[in-house]
């Protein structure tokens, strides 16, 4: 039977579930209302090893496999999707590229504190005019004494204002197009990195997303990640992992919507019986569950392949496309089942409906995922 988890994977999942249910879930609604970043929770997640899960212990991580990480992320998202996205960014696009492309010295200096939770990390690729079309980025890195100076604007930066180190892509050679982009580890604790006000988002309210202005932001010689011109290779190297991570986040949200809906269908009485006894509600629940189970298998399969070091670009894109689109639909049905109450802040599904919406957009839109899948089919 698939999936069959190892004892380690089950242990990690259960530890994540315990912590998420006891410590993350209770404050989720309040953080959604206030927009307050869950600082204390990240402190604890870091101490427990959840911020650098697949990073080897020698570099401050927990040294578990990729599927374990995905299982943990799903449990955290079930409790609070805002916490899950910050955790995912730290693991997938801050730690992972430094682990893959960093020198030994960079791993000691930057990866260790990111993986053991001392500081948080982020990723700066997207710009106001370069989203899905990442190669169009305009941020310039110019040579100066002892390193580079970065100038430009970055948009939709998760963990902006709360993270210390950002894997940042900038153009080192304006004439070389895609090949003229390089990756850097940018220390945000300098005046040249100006964080904007957090965006007023529809959901994921307690995750901080900001516009960043880089004004002569300095990057020392030894903080370039990979070789000059390797920028997109570094940026896209973690893409599959990032996509599976967001699929797992959507899966956690959808499972929560499912559980909330089943509980409500048993408790809410209409026409003299629980609404779960009405055939139309049963149709919704059955369809939601079918899509949820299918999505779960896709996510776990892609994660297993990734963990085994196999190519999984199509599997990751498929998992992200199907899971996030299904999760949006499942949360929509969950609101419908809750009727008027589903439209009220009093009920969890209202938050889930807003939180889940972005999953078909960020970390590669559904349209990009379809493109990736179709290209492979037509190759």
């Amino acid at each position: 039977m698939f999936p069959r988890f190892t004892d380690d994977q089950t242990a990690v999942r259960d530890a994540a579930r315990d912590f998420a249910q006891s410590e993350i879930a209770p404050g989720a609604a309040a953080r959604d209302a206030s927009g307050e970043f869950a600082k204390d929770i990240f402190q604890q997640l870091g101490e427990m090893g959840f911020m650098g899960m697949t990073v080897p212990e020698a570099y401050g991580g927990a040294g578990v496999d990729f599927l374990s990480y995905i299982l943990a992320l799903e449990q955290v998202a079930y409790a609070d999707a805002s916490v899950a996205v910050a955790m995912s960014v730290n693991n997938s696009v801050a730690c992972a590229p430094i682990l893959a492309f960093g020198t030994e010295a960079q791993k000691q200096k930057y990866l260790k504190p990111l993986a053991n939770g001392e500081v948080m990390g982020g990723f700066m690729l997207t710009e106001p005019d370069a989203g899905s079309d990442a190669a169009a980025l305009k941020t310039r890195a110019t040579r100066v004494e002892g390193g580079w100076k970065l100038n430009g604007a970055k948009a939709w930066i998760t963990n902006g204002g709360v993270a210390r180190y950002f894997v940042t892509m900038a153009r080192t050679d304006p004439d070389k197009g895609k090949k003229g982009i390089s990756a850097f580890i940018l220390d945000a604790s300098q005046p040249g990195v100006v964080m904007g006000r957090p965006e007023e988002k529809m959901g994921l309210r307690s995750s901080k997303t900001v516009m960043v202005a880089l004004e002569d932001a300095f990057v020392p010689e030894d903080a370039i990640l990979g070789k000059p011109g390797d920028g997109l290779k570094v940026a896209f190297g973690g893409l599959d992992g990032g996509r599976i991570g967001i699929a797992a986040q959507a899966l956690g949200i959808a499972q929560r919507a499912m559980d909330e809906s089943v509980a409500y269908a048993k408790a809410r009485i209409s026409f003299g019986k629980p609404i779960g006894e009405h055939q139309m509600i049963q149709t919704y629940l059955a369809e939601m569950e079918a899509r949820l189970q299918a999505a779960r298998l896709l996510v776990y399969r892609a994660a297993s392949l990734k963990g085994a070091g196999r190519t999984c670009t199509v599997e990751a894109a498929t998992a992200k496309l199907f899971t996030t689109e299904s999760a949006v639909w499942i949360c929509d049905r969950a609101v419908q089942i809750h009727g008027g109450y589903g439209y009220s802040r009093e009920y969890t599904v209202e938050r889930l409906y807003r939180d889940v919406r972005v999953t078909t957009i960020y970390e590669g839109t559904s349209e990009i995922q379809r493109m990736v899948i179709a290209r492979e089919l037509l190759k």
């Binding site: 004892d7 990690v12 530890a15 912590f19 101490e47 427990m48 090893g49 212990e57 927990a62």
Partner: protein, 249 residues
């Protein structure tokens, strides 16, 4: 310094308790087992002592195979070793105290920590009995513990106040909520725990001090009653009921 922490496996508070067919024990089906929360304070205190002044911490539980989960968790949290005494106390604190005493008596433990009571059973008897059997000092329902050179100072909850007791080690200390805030196991701890083995021994044969003769769930609550009529009539009916039936006036 050698510390023994005795941990009991109890049903999760959210478990729906059912009485087994014999009418005097729990039906173990569908029970989710956890470490008794009071024992978690005991374990956390032991780990803090280990981190503070250095100590060797051994976790111990009496029970069957399922009690291993409690020990695995203790290893993940930082216990150095774990022992399972295979046996069944049959719900009798004295039997369990004798089993633990038989194991611990020659091992040179400086400190034995456990919860002040096991969640659910609520006997609050095993710890004090263990201290008596071993002939060592004890302090119960402890909310603050300080260790000196071969001595302890414990603040314990008493009815309407607190009491500070001092004594010489070895001693049995039973933990109360407030002693500390137990941590969660780290992933590193969980992985490391899987490499450690749990020693399994047969518990000493003991004679129980008491036997459970019957176990019953509380009677089901009768349905509520809706008072009829307008507000003054309802108030009148309520007053009447409180006087005549509930006899609160």
């Amino acid at each position: 310094m050698k510390i023994l922490v005795a941990l009991k496996q109890v049903p999760d508070t959210e478990t729906k308790i059912k009485v087994a067919a014999d009418g005097k024990s729990l039906d173990p089906a569908d029970v989710k087992w956890i470490t008794s929360p009071y024992d978690e304070y005991a374990l956390e205190e032991a780990i803090r002592i280990k981190e503070g002044k250095g100590a060797e911490v051994m976790a111990l539980s009496v029970g069957g195979d399922t009690a291993k989960d409690v020990l695995k968790n203790a290893l993940a949290l930082g216990a150095d070793s774990a022992v399972l005494l295979k046996g069944d106390g049959q719900g009798d604190a004295f039997a369990v105290a004798q089993m633990i005493a038989a194991y611990a008596k020659d091992k040179g433990f400086d400190l034995i920590l456990c919860g002040n009571k096991g969640l659910g059973g609520d006997n609050a008897a095993m710890g004090p009995m263990l201290a008596e059997l071993l002939g060592v000092a004890q302090a119960n329902v402890v909310v603050k513990l300080e260790l000196g050179e071969g001595t302890f100072k414990a603040e314990r909850e008493i009815e309407g106040g607190s009491e500070v007791v001092e004594g010489a080690l070895p001693a049995v200390i039973t933990a109360q909520k407030g002693l500390n805030e137990p941590r969660y196991a780290s992933l590193k701890g969980i992985m490391a725990a899987k490499k450690k083995t749990i020693e399994e021994l047969d518990a000493a044969a003991v004679t129980a001090g008491a036997q459970v003769s019957a176990l019953a769930l509380p009677p089901e609550r009768p349905a509520g009653r809706l008072l009829q009529g307008d507000a003054p009539a309802q108030a009148q009916a309520l007053l009447q009921a409180l006087k005549d039936e509930a006899k609160v006036f």
